[in-house]
Subunit: 100 residues, 2 copies
DNA sequence: TTGGTATATCGGGAAAAGTCGATATACATT
DNA sequence: AATGTATATCGACTTTTCCCGATATACCAA
């Protein structure tokens, strides 16, 4: 993954917010039936609702974050759940501490 | 400083390279008369030369990095020297570790 | 004060990102 | 099979970023 793409993914207020929400889903989203936050994350619809942006925009934003390895997804039935990707974020932290 | 602006500043290959060069100027730039790397940094002309981009572009890039608190500048005679801003980079690292 | 060098700012054209509504796809339920 | 719901993709339009050359400003030297 190109470093520039990681920073581009983070260069947007809504995408930064999404990462913040996913860091503590229980604080930012209502209870979910059939899928716990820790294991699978939060479904697209909830994220969209909270963001106030259109469904298509949020879907694209999530895939940008995913391409940057900052989040990961799981499909369960008709829902796609996204959660933080700890490894990707640790790698980012390392880039900043060692290369910049 | 807005977090988004920090990440935007980092969303460009050349600007990332500049930060990398400024992390270890002695490895990336020739000796400078009258100004040592540790205290004042590297002058715009040297950075431009190494980047291969135009003078105006590099001048703008440096000011983008400076507005994001990632570098700082010192004017000495007709030269402006830029160096890494440790504090800003530490703050960035903290943002990533605590908010994302 | 005239000219030379270093850097900053301005104006612009091309490319990329932001964001939407419409449509497609995937899955579930009846 | 038909319909409904969740998400992804497409096409378009607007705004922002990239990067340049030209020009302005600041400082220095003769």
């Amino acid at each position: 993954m190109d470093q520039v793409e990681i920073f581009k993914a983070l260069s947007n207020k809504t995408r930064l917010q999404i990462l913040g929400w996913l860091k503590a889903p229980e604080l930012h989203f209502p209870e979910q039936p059939n899928a716990d936050f820790e294991n699978v994350g939060v479904c697209v619809g909830q994220i969209q609702l909270k963001s106030g942006l259109s469904q298509s925009t949020i879907s694209e934003y999530l895939s940008i974050l995913q391409r940057a390895d900052l989040i990961s997804s799981t499909r369960l039935g008709q829902w796609t759940y996204y959660k933080r990707n700890k490894e990707g974020l640790e790698k980012l932290s390392e880039i900043i501490n060692t290369e910049l």
